[in-house]
Every structure is written in C-alpha cells, then in structure tokens.
Symmetry: D2
Subunit: 388 residues, 4 copies
Amino acid sequence: MKDRFIETRKKSEDLCKPLLVEDYSLLPSEFVSPPKWHLAHTNWFWEEFILTKYLKGYTVYDPHFSYLFNSYYNAVGNRVLRADRGLMTRPSVEEVYRYRQHVSEAMETLLSIKFDKKLLELVEIGINHEQQHQELFLYDIKYIFGNQPTFPFYGSSYGLTEQDIKREFIKIPEGIYTVGHQGEGFSFDNELGVHKVHLSDFEISSQLVTNGEFIGFIENGGYNNFEFWHDEGWHWVNSNKIDAPLYWHKVGGEWFKYDLDGLQKVNFSEPINHISFYEAFAFAEFKAMRLPTEFEWEIASDQFSWGQLWEWTHSAYLPYPNFNKAPDAIGEYNGKFMINTMVLRGASVATPAGHSRKTYRNFFHPNMRWQYCGIRLVKKPDAISTNN
Amino acid sequence: MKDRFIETRKKSEDLCKPLLVEDYSLLPSEFVSPPKWHLAHTNWFWEEFILTKYLKGYTVYDPHFSYLFNSYYNAVGNRVLRADRGLMTRPSVEEVYRYRQHVSEAMETLLSIKFDKKLLELVEIGINHEQQHQELFLYDIKYIFGNQPTFPFYGSSYGLTEQDIKREFIKIPEGIYTVGHQGEGFSFDNELGVHKVHLSDFEISSQLVTNGEFIGFIENGGYNNFEFWHDEGWHWVNSNKIDAPLYWHKVGGEWFKYDLDGLQKVNFSEPINHISFYEAFAFAEFKAMRLPTEFEWEIASDQFSWGQLWEWTHSAYLPYPNFNKAPDAIGEYNGKFMINTMVLRGASVATPAGHSRKTYRNFFHPNMRWQYCGIRLVKKPDAISTNN
Amino acid sequence: MKDRFIETRKKSEDLCKPLLVEDYSLLPSEFVSPPKWHLAHTNWFWEEFILTKYLKGYTVYDPHFSYLFNSYYNAVGNRVLRADRGLMTRPSVEEVYRYRQHVSEAMETLLSIKFDKKLLELVEIGINHEQQHQELFLYDIKYIFGNQPTFPFYGSSYGLTEQDIKREFIKIPEGIYTVGHQGEGFSFDNELGVHKVHLSDFEISSQLVTNGEFIGFIENGGYNNFEFWHDEGWHWVNSNKIDAPLYWHKVGGEWFKYDLDGLQKVNFSEPINHISFYEAFAFAEFKAMRLPTEFEWEIASDQFSWGQLWEWTHSAYLPYPNFNKAPDAIGEYNGKFMINTMVLRGASVATPAGHSRKTYRNFFHPNMRWQYCGIRLVKKPDAISTNN
Amino acid sequence: MKDRFIETRKKSEDLCKPLLVEDYSLLPSEFVSPPKWHLAHTNWFWEEFILTKYLKGYTVYDPHFSYLFNSYYNAVGNRVLRADRGLMTRPSVEEVYRYRQHVSEAMETLLSIKFDKKLLELVEIGINHEQQHQELFLYDIKYIFGNQPTFPFYGSSYGLTEQDIKREFIKIPEGIYTVGHQGEGFSFDNELGVHKVHLSDFEISSQLVTNGEFIGFIENGGYNNFEFWHDEGWHWVNSNKIDAPLYWHKVGGEWFKYDLDGLQKVNFSEPINHISFYEAFAFAEFKAMRLPTEFEWEIASDQFSWGQLWEWTHSAYLPYPNFNKAPDAIGEYNGKFMINTMVLRGASVATPAGHSRKTYRNFFHPNMRWQYCGIRLVKKPDAISTNN
C-alpha cells in the first residue's frame, strides 16, 4: 500500500513537469480547476480525512488550507467558491509542493506503523481520489492550453488508436443479468449493490465512432437539423453556436484539432473525442441507431476492447436499488451528483493505470465535453430485425 | 368520437368561465402560458394536423395564427418564442373564441363524414393533447392568481382528500414483471414498447405524504441541512431562497397556502402538493426512505389508491428499450424532452376524466413544482430487513 | 384650476379609448408600464399626496392600492417591483376606472372648497405628473403594439411634419447668458435656479435631421464603423444587433416603420425618430458635426421651431448649481435620476398641450429610444471657421 | 527624452519586484488587468505606434502579440476580449521581459538618432501612457491581493497623510474663469481647448473627508437611507450588498482595511479612499453639502493642497466645447469614453511623479472604486448664506 501511495503521489507531480509556474493558477471556466488547486486539494484530502484522525501528534501544515482547498464537502465547513479557485495567487506553487512534501512524509510514517482495516480502506479511497484528479488535471490542462491563441505543447503520450474499418456488431441474447461490482478489489459506493436486470437482445458495435464518421454528420447538416436533437440539446447548440466537437478548428477548408501535442490535422480513423451527450445522441439518431444503456455496456464489455475513451451511455446516473451512501463527509463523494447527469462507462487514455474496471460509473452533465469521451453504437430494434 | 370531441372542446372553454378578460393574456414566468394561448394553441393543433390535411376545401382561419400559436413543433416552421407568448394582446379573447368556433364547426363536419383509421388516431391525439392543456391551464391559472397580492378566487372543485393516519406498507415480491401500455385504448408513444424488468422485493406506502409530515421536515431544519439534498438541489434551495412548498406563506406563526379557492390555512392531513423533485428526494432522505422507481410504482399501483396528485418517481425520463418516435411533427411530442427530466406517475385532481392510466409517463424537470404533485415513500433495503 | 384638473383627467381616459381590455395589462419590457398601471398610478398620486392630507373625512379607495401603484417613491413605503407591474390581472380595468371616479369626485369636492397656496402648488404638480404619464402612455402603447406581429392601429394624430429641404444654420454670438426657469408659471425643481453660463459662438441648424439623412448614415455603414461610436455605444450596437432606428423594418428592400397608425413606408422628409443618444452622437460624428449642449439649445430655441420631437443634447443631466430638492416624497421626483442620463430639450407631438416650455429638462439613459426623440446638429468649431 | 524613457521603463519593472511569477497572470474581475498584461501592453504600444513606423528595419518581436496585447484600439485590428486577458498563461513572464528588452533597446536606438517633432510627441504620449498603466497596475495588484484570504504584503510606500482637524472653507468669488490646459507641457486631448466658464461664488473645503467622518456616515445608517442616494446608487448598494468602502472589514467590532502593506486598523484621520461616486454623493448629501464641479475644482486648486487621492467631482466626463479627437488610433484614447463616466481631478499617491497637473481629467464610471479616490466638499448655497 505504501508503495502504491508513493507511486500515486509521484505521478501527480510528474504530470506537472511540462508546466511553467504561470500555468498553475489559471481558471478559464467554472468547471475547470487550476493545476495548483488539484495538487493542493488532493493533498488536503489526505490531511483532512486520514492524518488528522490517525496520526498521533500530526500538525496541520496550515489551518487556512482546509478553507482554501476543500472542494465540495459541505460537512467539512466553508470553502472557497468554485469560481474563486483561480483567484488565489498565494500560496505559491513552491509552497504547495512543500505542503505536499509535508503530507507525504507524514503519510509514509503512518503507513509504516498502522495497518488497521478502516485506515487501509481510507488510503484506498485517497489513492483513487488522487487518481481521479490526475485524469481531471489532464482534461483541465488541455482546456487551459487549448483556449490560448498559442496552443502550447504539453506532451505526446495521449494519442488515440485508429479504429478498424471493419466494424462488427456483437449480439447479446435476452436474459437476466447480474450487474454491479462483485470482486474483492476497490470500488466506489455507486457501483456496489450487485443486482439483477432484464435485458432484451441487442447488437453492439465492436468499434468506436471515428472522426471520419462524425465529419459525415457535420457535412450532412447534423448540427442544423433539429430532428436529431433533444429540445435542450437543440437549445444548447444554438445558444452556444456549436458546430463541431470541442477543440476543432476549420482552417483553410480542413479540420484541425488541438491535442496535448499541439494543433494537428484531424485523423479520420481515430475515434471521435470531446463530444457532449447531446452530440452523441444526435449522432446516433442521424445513424438511425442508439447508445447502449450502462447495463448493456457492462454485460457486453467482455467482448470488445475498451479504454481509449469514456463512452456515453443512455442511462441517467441514479442510485442502484440498494444504494447506501457512506456516513459523514466521504458519503458526499458520489450520491449528491445523481441528478441531471448521464453515465459514461469504460476508461480513457487519460485514466491512470489500475484505475479502471467494467463496473466503474463515471458521470457528467449532458452538455459537458472537455472530458475524454466517445461514442459506441447499438442497433435499434427494427434495424435488428431487418438487418438479420 | 364526435361526442368526445365536442365534450373536450366544451371543457376547455368551461374552465375559462371564472376568468376576466384581463386574466387571459398574462405570462408571469417562462414556464407558464397565458390562458388565451392555451385556447388558441389547442385549436391550432386541430387545424394544422387534421383540418388542413383531411377536410377538403377547409380555409385556414388566419394564416398568421400558425406562427403565433405553434408551441414547439420545429417541423411546422417558425414560432413565437416561449417568453413572448404573453406579449400578444391581439388577437383579442373574443377573436380567439371565434377562431375556436370556426375550427369546432369544421371538425364536426369532418367527423360526420370521415372515419378512416389514421384520422381517428389523430383525433384521439388531438383530444388527449387538449386534455393535457386543460390540466396545464389549471397549473398556470393557479400560478397567475397565486402570485398576485389579491389572491383571486378561481373555484372550489380542486381540493384534496385527507390521508388515513394509518399508513401501511405494501410488500411486492422480487420477480420479472412486464411494464408498458398493453391495452387497446389510447396511449402516448413514450409508454408503448411493452418490456420486462427485474424488480427486487420492496415495500411501498399505501398513502401519500401529508402536509403535517412535511411541516416536520421544515421544522427539523430540512431546508437548511445539505445532507438531505442533491448538490444541485442544495444550490437551487439557496439561490432561490426556498424554505417551503410553492404557494405557502407563514402568517402570524401559522402556515397558509394559496389554492384555487383562495388563501387557506394548511390542513395537516391533506397530501403535500407543489414540491420539486429535489424536495421530494430530500424529504425521503430525511425519513431514511426513498422514492419508488417508475416500474415499482406501475407494478404496485393496483394495490393502492392514486389520482389525487402526480407522484415523483426516482426514474429519469428515458426512452423504453424499443422506443420509436412517430414520424414528422407528431414525433416531436415526447421524445425530445427525454433528458434532465424525471418521471411522475399517476394523475391529479386537475387531470381531466378519462385521461389517466397506470402506464402514463408524465415528466418535469427536477426543479419544477407548479404542477400538482406529491410524494409516496418506499422503504430502504436495510429498513426492510430490520422492520420485518 | 378645477377645470384644468377635469380636463387632464379626461385626457388620460380619452387616450385609452382605442384600447381593448386585453391591451391594458401588458408589460413587454422592464422600462414600459402597462396602460392600467398608468391610469391607476396617476390616480394614486392624487390620493396619496393630496386627498389623504387635505380632504377631511376622505376614505382611501383601497388601502392595498398604495402598495400596488406607487412607482418609485421610497419614502411612501414598499412597492411592487417595476418588473412585476405586468403581473397584476386584478384589480380589473373596470375597477381601476371606478377607482379613478372615486378620486376625481373627491378632488372636485376639494377644489370647490379649498384654495390655499400649498394645495394649489400640489395640484399643479399632480396635473403635470398626470400629463407626463399621458406622454409615457403613448410611448408605451406604441411599444406594446409595435412589438406584436399584427401591428395594431392605435390612431392617426401623431404624425410628424416634413422638414424644409433648405436647412439654415443660425449663428449665436459668444456671451454670458442666463438660463433656467424664470417666469411665474409652473416648472419642475430641476429647471429652477436661474444662473449664468458662458457660451462660445456657435451655429445651430434650423431643422431636425430627416429620415432620408439617417438612411444615408445606414447605407454608408454607420452602424458598422466603430469610429463614430462611444465605446459603450459600440458595445450596445453589437450586443443588441442594432442596425436601424426602433420600429424600422426592411421589407423587400424598402424601409418601413411602425407608427401609431400602423406599418408605413418611411417618409424621407420627416424628422428621424426613436434613436438613442448613442445613435444621435454617432450620426453627428458621421456628419462631422456635434449635438448642442442644453444651454446652447435653450438660448437658440427662440430662433427655430421646435416641439415635434424631444431633442438629444450633449449635456449630462446634473443639478443646476443651486439645486435643492423638495422635502419629503415629492423631492424624489427628479434629483435621484441625475446620473448616467442625458438631457433632452423641447417637446414632442406626444406631449400634452400646455406641458412644454424652453427650460424643460427631460432626461433618459443614453440607450433608450422608445421615447419620441430626434436630432438637431451644431457645427464643429473648425467647420465654423472654414465655412464662414 | 531618452532619459525619461529609460526611467519610465525601469519604473514599470521596479513596480513588479515584489511579485511572484504566480501573481502576474491573474484576472479577478473584468475591470482589472493582470500585471503581465500591463507590462506587455505598454510595450506593445511603443512597438505599434512608434517602432514599426519610425525605426527603419525594425522587426516586430512576435506578430501575434499585437493581437494579444492591444487593449481597445479598434483601428488596429482584432484583440483579445478584456475578460480573456487572464486566460493567457503564455507567453511566460520571462518572455514578456525579453519582449520589453527587445523594444527598449530598439527605442533607445531610435531616440539616439531621431528627433523630429511628431516622433517626440508620440514618445511623450508613450511615456504618459506607460505612467497611466503604472498607476492602474497599483490599483490592480491591490485588488488581486486584497481579494485573497491571505492578504499578501506588497509594499509600504503608498500611505496617506493625516488631514488637519481644522477644516477651512476657501471662498471663491463669482466670475468668468478660463479653464483647460494652456502651458507648454504635455497634456491629453481631453483637456485641450481652453475656454471660459461662468462660476457663481462658492466655498470649498481645504481638506479631504476623513475615515472618521465616513464612519459617522456608516454609523448613522448612511448605507440604509435611500434619501441620500441616486436611484441607481441605491440599486447598486442593495444588489451588491455594499455597507462599507472597498477593502474594509469589520473584525471584532473594529474597522480594518486592506492596504498594500497588509490588513491594518483604520486610521480615523486619514482621508477616506476607495469609494464610488455614488458613495461620495451620498456622503455629501448626508452632510448637506455637495461635490465641486470640475471647473470649481480647477479654479480653486491653487489654494489647497492636493495629490493624495483623486477627487470625485460632480461633472460628467464630456468633451470641451472645441474638442477634436486626434486622427487614427491615438484618437481612440479618450473621447470614446465620454458617456456615463464622471470626472475626477487631482492625482493620488499612486500617480507617477511628473504625471499630474491641475487640468488633468481622470474619469471612471460612478460605480467604480478600486482606484485611489476621495471626497472634497463644497457648501450648498443656502449653507453659504446662513453660515456667513
């Protein structure tokens, strides 16, 4: 456990290596957090939920930091409004690294002496929490860089794999299936509560939708035809003047996209990324197909390869039948977001190694698209009958 | 069919009898439509979707009205922005009644001569559409009157029945159940597509939550304790300064509510009305219970009495597995609202007779509460085991 | 005085004769008041400031009305928010007329028996106040009708006179001039305080700018060239997508405008109406001229004809050097608006007879243009020297 | 001139010495610019308006920078929206200093070889422009630091001088006075155009209003009494919940304020700082006095000491009678802001040495108060007569 702790902490800091000090504090939009805040907040989590409770004689690095770096745990007291996170030039980046050093050393001490079960469970949550922020950090730095006129280079390790031209549809028979996390390993509270679901038979694509296919949608007027859209999606498209995926730019008649390695020509064979649920749904309508439910995805996922991009499902993020949120502040982790959000399944190239499993329930509002996310299609019932 | 047509038309106009001309055109909020608009829009629906297509030689009453009184059918052309519906003082109320007379007479002629199946299906939709607006009219006139300092009297026929003090919990066993509309009669496209679901065993209340019980929530600080709320619900409560159900006023230490018969003291035994999904959920959390899913409700509904108030379920409004929206404009009726909305089941005292069935899927955004709606509770799993 | 009172009251009601009941309650924008509100508010003014203080035994018609129909007199207690004025369908139009009857009769009684100076001064203010609302009523009903797709006809008595093609520039010599209201007659507090000003010599047009000239501005790209605009004006043009005066519509390549007699082709020789200060300023820049100050206007006004349209001046609305606002609520009448507003001088065809004088200081925010207002130009200094 | 150039450039950079790299890029509010932007924008000004035109063979440092660091000169092409100025983490602070070095060297070369009059005039403008940004920089860094929970220390050189307890009122006789810039030295276009004004006699305070006096206003309910406020000011107070000057905090019953040397107890004898025009006006009303006009201030200023704080006048910022804005982009400097702004006269402790004169017309919107600004009172006419 101590090794995994050390490794996780190192990874968070390694991700920041391409940054200048200037890049740490920016807040370009309310849903984005500055890199400095990610570093400090994940650190605060260890201090608040573990060190102050389990390490005798631990002294908090700075009592103000609880106020500054709490994210949304109402139970822990007041916190800086989300929109103000980018307003803090102090503490400095250097001091935030000192703060991390302070907490890491104390945690390593603790993990050398204590092994009770409750503590280890919390450490597991802490590691998973910090891993989640590693992924969010990548979304955020992409947004920070991708909205600057100079399109800075971050790194080249987050490319996507080209999809096979030959798409197959995998048939899953009708039946009663068991879903939810069952193994020994770690999972979040929202995926616990194994239960049965009835699924009709369905056919699901072995491949993700590609950029080339999505350009077909654009060029056939997909963004201008209300028939494909939810009423709210149509409003979203028009009031935000959306006409392409996030980070796409048309230059001299050709599509380019900003990626972490700079502005690049769009590769038609790579999977489409950075589309909202509204766009994923509209694309499926355009193709006369549909998105899978999260349970269809979970059952079928053994038969296709996944992990490039989170995949929008047509399931609202709601509690499983026997969901019980954890007591006290940790219980605020997931349940309180179970409204007006949609489930994504899978993982992405930005997901830290060891942080994915087929029962994992990621979720975002249907208009969000700065996260790494793509589309996998399922045939509509009539299509099944006619195509077979 | 002709008789049902005539009866439906008369009901729409009877509902307006308590109004002054002044009351017909007001638009106090974006989600409310003025009475004049309800009368004209339901009328336009017959003209646009039936008369112009099925009645030879029919002349449209006024070609501008299609622009004025279309609601959200993008396929039919431009329309007045929702927020501008209250800006039209002309056509006058008198002219709208003449417009209705014109359409009613033409429809009666048509229904005396034509009987093909497609037409009768459309007439059925037209009747159901006008009935829906009759219910919306009552929500809207309550909102229009309930937000004026003089609290006008509308009528006394919409009171609620007191609930039994002895609440029972009805046990439903685990199993595979069939849901969705199966009968011969009319249904909307969103409830078609009979399919199977697996339900775990559960226990559901025979009664609705009462005003008295909800006052318990208020007095125990329910509106001030973030633990009971979704993150968005908590934000909604605080930014709108919500501290009671809609239409409630505390006067001299006692709770009053505006109802269609004026400002009245709150009756503790009547079911709680006009609460948002956020409030329904928070109340259930406060009680350590939960709301039923729409399928639990549908299966259990044979064993309790319903119809006083629409009942919030904990199901997002999403398409059934084999949902297919109708072609052309009629297809915009339901499917395009299947995002960020929650299902309500049952019916209310404002629902026209003959317009309810247990498979009916009503839906609203989770923050809406001007509709007639209440709460029915289900035990949480641990509560089931311990209480048995 | 009693005769003038009766005549003023009658005029307010005569102005409403072309209205349907439906037209009385609409509030299409925050700066517009519904006709019913004008009738009731002017009435309340008599009741609040005169009858309750001077007529023994007077009983207020309805004590709630003070809350409903106060406009902005903070000293008199709470009032309905401006944006809510359109939300009151009750009291009915009929009742508002009864309310006026009640007050008129009491005032006539009072004016038959009382003649003290303070009372007569207040009656004079009441008459002038009601006259101001008669003019505002015309602005408002034009806005209410002009924003409906049916462009209703109100009346034909508010047309403008064509301007002479031969424009002259009147020369006014440098000197010390006396400005401000000096006569015996009524004036508002903001025009009192006669004082001296020094004016350089200037040349002012004998005519108002015409529609034809303004079309020249439009066709030469005036709305697209930032050079002519204030920074705020440029922002106003772009964020509101302004490309023509209010009520103008381009139909089939020709300019039409809504006027109280319906939609009409624009007459090139009539003075331009319904432009904001921003537009008036930009037009003057385009012509390499300028607007007069309010004192230039006041001194020169004896030498040209005015009264068709209020004329924007390049003077901010600020207190005269020895301004003293009246004590208590009447003192709120003018002084509190002396910030971010610009002075207009003259009068318009919508101004009631007897309500104009050359010292009258009208004022509006620089973005407002639903009032009747036009442009008179003054030569720039270099133009004076070169043209002479 | 070259010496003054070098000195001005050095001062801009010296002002940044107390900053960390983190402090350079923050944009806490739309009216505040990040320090990095000030450094780069003033630099761009030299490059755009002088070097590219006067220095043969000059190569622009980076052609993108014109887009990034233009402020509001529409004539020079597109520019980064004001609200996006804080979104640029690149170019880095280090690079901005290299950019300044590049420009400074080129300017020094130019100033060693060229001396034509037009060039020297532009250099004078460039120096004054950079000085203005030095003062704005201090406002902005105070705002950036003053809104962080840690209240960082910047420096101690910007304190204010205590005011004499014995305030005198200086009498100025009625007369025709000449105002506007007349000397040889530099001035902006908005203060040119010497002209005559007539002033009535008035009495103006020899001292600025103190913190102690302003606390009297607060403690007598000044922020809660609409009588003292403009209608817009009253709205501003209530919608922004204003109850003290900017940067003031009540801690344990005592008033503290953030200043560039940290959080300090309020000194009753120092002049009040950081109040809006609305507050200055309300305070004057509370004292039954008034603010001076800009011309009264200019004429009387020889007889009192000024320069601690800019002083709000009761004059709107409007063009002088014979104002002519400069041709091309430089002409956008002042004239386009002459609407909805009020004039401040004098200078402040944040004003660079040599950048003040009694004809200088500073201006801000009446709600702004992050600039250094105070209040000087004038007696009202009746007070003059009765007190004498």
